[in-house]
Symmetry: C2
Subunit: 324 residues, 2 copies
């Protein structure tokens, strides 16, 4: 069993359904003072987990919480915790979301790039290039286009700030209104007013019962239709189950939406035969807009354990009542 227990400190239980090689490599340099038990390691199959205080998890084994009944803190391997919330037997202990500078900046890279690609009609330009056609375009500039960001957590706020720097007009929506300098914000009751001003909708919502299926035909039909882009665009980098995929397909086909960029899907991987792959002006990326970087994840868990053992409050705690 590859437990490197150098002291009386409890090793960190790791069950991350990521690339096993990458996790193993990141663990080599992590938790030097307490060691770890990596369930992906075959020699850990029957390990006694009853003494373990901390677990770092992403899609853990179904029997994990039975095998480790004395956990004090659960660390999520990702920014979203919806998959964790639905696990049977999830103990009522603090759960920490993965928040990381790198994850945040990578998400903003993807979001800003997708907004610019729709603004500048990259798909149309690439089509002309394939035809060797010199076809100049003079579309709107960013200031003529309003990006509406749904979800104003760490990711939404960072993306919004960077979209503003690039010149876009940016507005924001969250369940409870957030005050953000230099940005008009809307709350749950003002969704219609928010949508009516939005040319490019950016979804960065957590998945909760309220946000399941929120991006649907009705919502798409309420987006601005007389904006500088001829038709509204939908961009989702939050959670796939927040979108009704059949509604996206028909909104693109009927011209309710002029384009979309999707990194997340109801079922992943997206099926080979799904109509989304081939739709006009729809950009598909395979849930890699902001991949958890394993070394950063380990650093984050180490930091939070240090805080916890010093008696300081944990950061990025999940609120079970909100679901994120």
């Amino acid at each position: 069993m590859k437990t490197i227990a150098m002291s009386a400190k409890s090793p960190v239980l790791v069950d991350l359904k990521f690339s096993p090689a990458t996790v193993a490599k990141a663990l080599e340099a992590a938790f030097a003072d307490r060691g770890s038990i990596n369930l992906a390691d075959p020699s850990s199959k029957g390990a006694d987990l009853s003494h373990v205080d901390y677990a770092l998890l992403w899609k853990p084994d179904a029997d994990l919480f039975k095998r480790a009944p004395n956990l004090k803190v659960i660390f999520s391997g990702g920014a979203g915790v919806d998959s964790m919330m639905s696990i049977a037997g999830l103990p009522d202990i603090p759960m920490v979301r993965f928040v990381d500078r790198s994850l945040t900046t990578r998400m903003s890279e993807w979001v800003v790039m997708q907004c610019l690609m729709h603004l500048r009609d990259v798909q149309g330009h690439l089509r002309s290039q394939r035809q060797h056609a010199w076809a100049q375009q003079q579309g709107p500039e960013a200031a003529d286009v309003t990006v509406g960001v749904m979800g104003l957590g760490v990711l939404g706020c960072d993306a919004a700030a960077k979209l503003k720097v690039m010149g876009f007009n940016v507005i924001g929506w969250s369940r409870n209104r957030k005050q953000i300098d230099g940005m008009q914000t809307f709350d749950a009751g003002e969704l219609d007013a928010f949508l009516a001003q939005t040319d490019i909708l950016v979804g960065l919502l957590p998945l909760t019962p309220e946000t399941t299926g929120i991006y649907n035909a009705s919502l798409f039909s309420r987006l601005r239709r007389d904006g500088a882009l001829s038709k509204p665009v939908f961009i989702n980098a939050g959670r796939g189950k927040s979108q009704v995929q059949a509604d996206i397909v028909s909104a693109i086909r009927t011209g309710v939406l002029g384009g979309a960029s999707l990194d997340v899907f109801d079922v992943e991987p997206l099926a080979k035969g799904d109509p989304l792959w081939d739709l006009e002006n729809v950009i598909i990326t395979p849930h890699d807009s902001a991949v958890s970087e394993e070394k950063a994840l380990m650093r984050h868990v180490e930091e939070q354990i240090t805080r916890f053992e010093r008696g300081e409050p944990l950061q990025h705690l999940v609120d079970r009542s909100r679901g994120y």
Copy 2:
């Protein structure tokens, strides 16, 4: 003759080889106090231009300066003035470059988008999408990649600042060193050191005798080869004649460059049969990264004439000795 001379003020002579309809439309609302003479208007063919003080020009007629011998100021219709500098009979009077917030922000949209598209391997993702293949990538983040901006005028500085906000490490090069907060800069004598640190080279240089053909095989071979992107990338939105296109083609084919984004070309439009169109990971746009917006151009000329007639110094003056 469509001269709207409402006062003793000299009308503005306009010879812009842009879209005639767009120029005519922009002129309807411009220069209300003095009128204009638009040479694209057939009725202006034989107009007497001897009394004209100001000319707004882009690729003007060869005999223009003979017909208008008493000009006080020339306004360029574009940010680059290289085509103007080579006109026979160009009088030795102040020449004002077109600098405009909109032109600047549009250029930065294009530059930042192209850098992000190479960082995030958009071409690879689109290829996977066409094959309905779910192929996750975990490339470097912006902070791991150094963008080297050649040319630190208004456009270069704005693009550099926005690339920094997106997380890139940004360095800059100009003939004479510029001091820019938070950015390492290099001058003419330090080109090798600049190139050796550069993963993505962004060209925003004016065209002068010194910058003609500057982006060539020798320069490409001096870019960083052990950076986070496996091979360096060349992006040019300055002037086409600054690049040796045959050298770009062979640098891509031999792997000296891993990709390129080109908005400008030696001869425009780029010929149908040019090998650049079909090269792996080369993105071609038809010199529309930042199209001069005619209304903004008229506003800019109006502002500068007002300054000039108040006795204030003209802004954005071309330095003939530097050639830009």
